[in-house]
């Protein structure tokens, strides 16, 4: 009888200490150690992080972090983890894309009324999309440039001490983006009006940039299953418009893309939607360059024939 209660207490205490020990070990390994003196800027997700990274650069006393991103898919249905709430509670400025992408913004605005929010896409035209708005504005280089400009401007307003530095960094980045835009414009002249099929919402902005004629569009993500009827409809549309190129996103559009390739003989281009990747300042530039190269190759061949 006594032994049983002894075991019970021992077991619970044991579990308590082991879990506390493991937790402490885990936390000590992952803790970055924040500095109260710093200005903490948090971004809502990847493209905003890269944009902010370029604007902030190596400005002293400013710490930039990103919310823990979902490992798959877009941000639409992302739920904040306790870690994110902690991050935001220590943040001074929160940079978001806007356009309904950050569905958790309402809660945050209510919970952290003192947090300054920069909505980078506020002044941009958000296109309508499936189930509301299509917020993938960063896929258009010109729109992304405006986002970068908005971030730089708002940051300078909120943190005037570093205004010059922000302006210089933003300027540098804008120059690189302008070169990118130029390359895009050259290609746009060639391919304007070409009919394409889009398998992801994000490419609507891209097609807009190039003036491509969108013949059919479908937003494939991790939970979207395409029905046989929809596939048939799309094939019919492809034949009717003489579509030769399909723009798809690798992880979700692959199955349908391959099917279209064999069924309709179209060329499927797997482009980067730039919503996640390495945390490198140039990753947006690199990703867009790759996208443009892919497009140049695909459409260039056609022009050469």
């Amino acid at each position: 009888m006594k032994r049983k209660y002894g075991f019970l207490c021992g077991m619970l205490l044991g579990i308590l200490f082991v879990s506390a020990g493991l937790t402490a070990w885990y936390v000590s390994r992952t803790d970055g150690g924040g500095n109260e003196q710093e200005l903490t800027v948090v971004t809502s997700f990847y493209p905003m992080y890269i944009a902010a990274m370029n604007v902030i650069g190596d400005t002293e006393g400013v710490r930039l972090s990103n919310l823990s991103e979902p490992q798959t898919g877009c941000l639409h249905d992302f739920q904040l983890t306790p870690e994110d709430m902690k991050l935001l509670s220590g943040a001074d400025i929160f940079i978001i894309n806007g356009g309904g992408l950050e569905s958790f913004m309402e809660d945050i605005a209510a919970d952290y009324p003192k947090l300054s929010v920069i909505e980078a896409g506020k002044d941009l035209a958000i296109l309508p999309g499936e189930g509301g708005e299509n917020a993938h504005v960063w896929m258009s280089v010109s729109a992304y440039r405006k986002q970068v400009a908005a971030i730089a401007e708002m940051l300078s307003e909120l943190d005037p001490a570093h205004e010059a530095q922000y302006a210089r960094n933003a300027d540098n980045y804008q120059k690189k983006l302008a070169a990118l835009e130029k390359r895009q414009e050259a290609l746009a002249k060639q391919i304007k009006g070409t009919p394409v099929v889009l398998l992801h919402d994000a490419f609507v902005y891209l097609a807009d940039d190039y003036g491509l004629a969108v013949s059919a569009e479908m937003n494939l993500d991790e939970e979207r299953q395409i029905s046989a009827g929809e596939a048939a409809e799309m094939l019919a549309q492809i034949r009717a418009d003489g579509v030769q190129q399909v723009l798809a996103e690798e992880s979700y559009g692959k199955d349908l893309g391959e099917m279209l390739e064999t069924e309709a003989g179209v060329q499927v281009l797997y482009l980067d939607v730039l919503n996640r990747g390495v945390y490198d300042a140039d990753s947006y530039l690199d990703g867009m360059q790759r996208n443009i190269t892919l497009l140049e190759e695909a459409f260039g061949e056609k022009q050469g024939e």
């Binding site: 885990y26 249905d77 306790p82």
Partner: protein
């Protein structure tokens, strides 16, 4: 160094802590009877039906999904119980059919237009979703359960041990069954949003099952079950907070460790 009190600074953590304090004793308490009555499958089916509850709520445009969920859960529980009473096919088959059918309906409705991922959070749960209003609901259910237990436990237990004998003692066996099923349904529905559909059943079963490994009598059985349930709830919540993981699974992991410890204890002492 780790700050063991930092979680208290956050409103959502205080709310979650309160919810855990209210709900885990109930899980422990009801779990004892679920394990005794061999209803693990039944409560599992109830958890899965939450998906359909939400779907039904959306179809009928109910003010908020949780009202529809509760109504649906009660209806589903009564229906399940009714089916379980008839001895045509074996009960587990019927429950399984019910459960899969309800999950399928829920998935079909929620995946319409390819938007299922909006509800994917329900599968693993989200402690940030607990609102003050839900705390009030939980507190009400807590009171109801405690009163029900104080008044009806003997009748429930008797009908569980020997139905015919209980009936001969004028115990309303069927009524007790229904009341119990509805109560379980209510608690499952109210906590599903933060525990998650995939693991809610574990929270009902594990503490009671662990307790059964140790307890010698009814009083110990209840006491241990409630202790295990509250303990895993609090430890799981705090560990999940510091390690940035989902809370429901963490609670279940702690509860599983307790189960295995008691299981081996019983095996060794049984020899």
């Amino acid at each position: 160094m780790i700050d063991w009190t930092s979680w208290m600074d956050y409103g959502f953590m205080r709310t979650a802590f309160l919810a855990v304090l209210i709900i885990t004793p109930l899980f422990g308490l009801l779990g004892t009877m679920i394990v005794n009555k061999k209803m693990a499958y039944f409560s599992d089916a109830l958890g899965h039906s939450a998906l359909t509850g939400i779907a039904v709520g959306i179809v009928f445009g109910a003010a908020e999904p949780s009202t529809a969920m509760v109504v649906f859960a009660v209806v589903f529980a009564v229906l399940l119980n009714r089916i379980g009473e008839t001895n045509t096919a074996s009960t587990d088959t019927v429950i399984s059919v019910f459960s899969s059918c309800s999950v399928a309906i829920g998935l079909a409705i929620l995946s319409k237009g390819g938007n299922f991922n909006r509800y994917a959070g329900l599968l693993v749960g989200d402690i940030l979703s607990i609102t003050n209003r839900e705390i009030a609901y939980l507190a009400a259910v807590f009171l109801v359960t405690v009163v029900f237990w104080l008044l009806g436990f003997n009748a429930l237990n008797a009908s569980c041990i020997h139905r015919t004998l209980a009936r001969s003692k004028r115990i309303p066996v069927r009524l007790m069954d229904y009341l119990f099923a509805v109560l379980v349904a209510l608690i499952v529905m109210l906590s599903i949003k933060w525990v998650g559909i995939l693991i809610i059943n574990a929270l009902l079963i594990l503490p009671a099952a662990s307790s059964r490994n140790l307890a010698d009598n009814m009083r110990e059985y209840h006491l241990f079950s409630v202790i295990f349930s509250v303990f895993s709830g609090i430890v799981g919540l705090l560990v999940s907070y510091y390690t940035n993981t989902a809370t429901g699974p963490m609670i279940v992991i702690i509860a599983s460790v307790i189960y295995f410890s008691t299981f081996f204890y019983q095996m060794r002492s049984g020899e």
